[in-house]
Symmetry: C2
Subunit: 466 residues, 2 copies
């Protein structure tokens, strides 16, 4: 009855079509990969920041929990809603409000998909550099709330570095408008940082001012083969230096990954012999195609002569570039071969990576002789992904795999989530990467900004007393 009254009041403050109930709710997912319909009591779809504020004010007064939804492509259960939750979806706030070419900024509503932002920037002959596989579905609001990473972090940084200003609504409905549009602003605390990577627990991001970059006029792409891991690390340093900071991707594929993707029955033609321990897909983008290509080839030549790399193929056309990236990006093909997949996203010191991956692999195979595991990722950022299958997603089995991965990671002082965040799924393991004192300070912030704990409750950490 109480919930019914609240929904009646919400109906009065949102534009028509603003409330979804029943099958309109359960017919949607709130997770990826989807595991059944959304359980929330209702989905609210405001069309403006004012409406978001009005809805939150009502929820705050009622002590009603609110889970904010963006594009629902997160991988850690950060958007999962329980049946007592209300979902706030920003899908009707999806306008690109302003393109400012002189200052190189875009002002957008939080519900706009990443790909539309990329396209709007490109139409203005500029680049919005954040890029990830989910670009067609994920939203800028979600990118901010999860501090998204992706393929070009090595060159341009994470979402945090692409954000100049933000507008957000606090738990009690207060609108914080910090829509700064300049790169340098040291006027008191940088409040936007509160909303980046906090997974919707400190406020609801409604609008953002994004920083754009010059659109590259050239790209050079190669896949190389390397025999020893320490050469991978040395090759990274050499390329980053020789290419003068224009290195925009340095993706390492362990042999298992490469063989799984290009092996028997694959749609990919192997560009290099699949017998090497490591492959690196690297790319450099710059301002001048011809001189950049010469420099790129000279740098690879030097690496070849010094014995760092043993084989290489350089893309000679747009198609060849796309074919090389298709190998790295074929997560769908990977998931089919390693089914059902358990996905990890860890950061650790580059020199520790080889022994870490080997140790984890050994322990997995000891326990599940038929298990499969591949490693790949953004090595230039110290970040690798592991995909493991043990033939089941039985919670006890998943837990056993996680324990191996994270226990070993703890030994290497690694980070349990480089990009994906904590959400619900990694909450239990947060203590492997953050101290009790750090978590306690996080709770202090949560308490200060959302004392009733209505925003995405239970995500990141359990909401016990601090």
């Amino acid at each position: 009855m109480k919930a019914f009254n609240l929904l009646k009041m919400i109906e009065d403050v949102v534009a028509p079509g603003g409330i979804l109930l029943g099958e309109d709710v359960t017919g949607r997912s709130d997770d990826w990969p989807p595991r059944g319909g959304c359980q929330a009591m209702a989905i609210i779809r405001p069309v403006s920041t004012g409406e978001v504020s009005a809805v939150l004010k009502l929820c705050h007064a009622a002590g009603q929990s609110v889970v904010t939804h963006g594009g629902l492509t997160g991988l850690v259960g950060g958007a999962r809603a329980a049946k007592e939750d209300i979902v706030l979806s920003l899908e009707r706030m999806n306008r690109i409000e302003a393109v400012d070419i002189a200052n190189r900024t875009l002002t957008v509503e939080a519900g706009v998909p990443l790909q539309r932002v990329q396209e709007a920037a490109e139409q203005a002959d500029l680049l919005f550099p954040l890029d990830l596989g989910a670009r067609g579905s994920c939203t800028i609001g979600g990118n901010i709330s999860t501090n998204a990473g992706g393929n070009s972090v090595i060159r341009y940084g994470m979402m945090r570095e692409q954000l100049l200003g933000v507008e957000a609504v606090l738990a009690d409905g207060t609108i914080i408008s910090s829509l700064n549009g300049v790169i340098k602003n040291n006027t008191g605390y940088d409040l936007k940082q509160l909303f980046v990577g906090s997974e919707g627990t400190l406020g609801v991001v409604t609008r953002a001012v994004l920083r754009l970059r010059p659109l590259p006029r050239s790209s050079s792409t190669a896949l190389v083969a390397i025999d020893h891991f320490e050469q991978v690390a040395a090759f990274l340093r050499d390329m980053d230096s020789a290419l003068g900071g224009t290195l925009s991707a340095f993706e390492v594929l362990w042999n298992d990954f490469y063989r799984t993707i290009v092996g028997d029955g694959s749609k990919h033609k192997p560009p290099l012999n699949p017998s090497h321990p490591y492959y690196v897909l690297l790319e450099s983008t710059g301002g001048h195609q011809e001189s950049d290509r010469v420099r790129f080839e000279a740098a690879l030549e030097e690496a070849f002569e010094s014995g760092l790399i043993v084989d290489a193929v350089i893309a000679q056309s747009k198609q060849q570039r796309e074919d090389l990236w298709a190998i790295r990006d074929d997560i769908e093909g990977l998931s089919r071969k390693l089914f059902p997949p358990i996905v990890f996203d860890v950061s650790l010191d580059i020199p520790k990576m080889e022994s870490y991956v080997a140790a984890v692999r050994r322990q997995i195979h000891e326990r599940w002789p038929d298990a499969q595991m591949v490693a790949f990722g953004h090595l230039g950022d110290g970040n690798i992904h592991l995909v493991v299958t043990v033939g089941s997603l039985e919670p006890a089995e998943v837990h056993a795999v996680e324990s191996i991965i994270y226990k070993e990671l703890g030994r290497c002082q690694g980070i349990i989530s480089a990009e994906h965040g904590i959400g619900l799924d990694k909450r239990e393991y947060l203590k492997h990467s953050r101290s009790e004192i750090e978590i306690s300070l996080m709770k202090t912030l949560k308490q200060a900004l959302d004392p009733k704990g209505i925003l995405n409750p239970g995500k990141i950490f359990a909401e016990s007393a601090t």
Copy 2:
């Protein structure tokens, strides 16, 4: 007596030589430019994080206010101490603890001067890109607390972007150790952001993990002359694009600045005729001297042919490069000619800059016909500095100048402090750049982290009830 007891207790928790009193205090400044000795009751000089924690625990229990000191090169009175304050100086915590070449990080104590960090990076064939005139005195802790900017922000970002991990001590002595060393870490709230740019009001930074970059192998430097402001903005866009993201400085000098520095009696030989409205000092750094030079010259050639620039001199030697930078960096010569100087540091939309500078100049000259004013700065970041002299630093006169500068800035929705921060001197004007709601949220954070208000009290905003 209470203070005496507190100092006795502090004496017990710090290493010998840890407390300065009397003339050892008043003989020091706490401001720049210096305006008389430090007024604090004592200067405490801990040698470890544990000592900082112990001192703060005692101060917290006693409700004792604490002003943290780094290199004392701030420009806004952020380190100024009153006679009831205790100063905490990190000057004895100045070790470089670790250089990690593989992960490209440096771990340092907060009291280490910036220049020593730069040198340690260079010895490892790496670059710590933050650079500013005060490099020999300013400390990393101060750089973090003020989110320092400087000359290479256009390429590498502000201090915030150079910081991977931080250790800080909260007001009550709690040590928050977030000494993360990886680029990507999405495990809960990014707590280090709290301590960046908060000017010592939320905690005392004691150690940091800094991100290093490849050391550039080439640099190309030029000074060009431009006739119209909109061409300056177009030239910036063209260069940033043509140089493929390797543009590392784009400093604009208005004609007054240039004439003031290279005019009669100057030690600088004018590299270009002093009759042009605008000069740009630009620099590109990269991986390969020869190919980078060719590209740089070709880009300038193109700008010349399209009429964007009307004259240019390209440095042909290290000496010539240094001579060009000496013009931009001759703030001492500038301060002698514009004495006594009042210094401003504003950000605003690039297209509004020309009319903003003209409007301010007109108003200044209307009121003080003999006033002098020059404009220059990091235009690539949307940031310009103004230096004004009206022949006096009489508070009423300074206030009148500030009112003109900031009132006009408000009309352009500009930012009152791009780099320098707020401290005490700009507190009154914070409202020109931040809303009441934003300032109220800042106070909520302050209240959550420092409920007794002992850390750098009164800086950034007055400590009234929220």
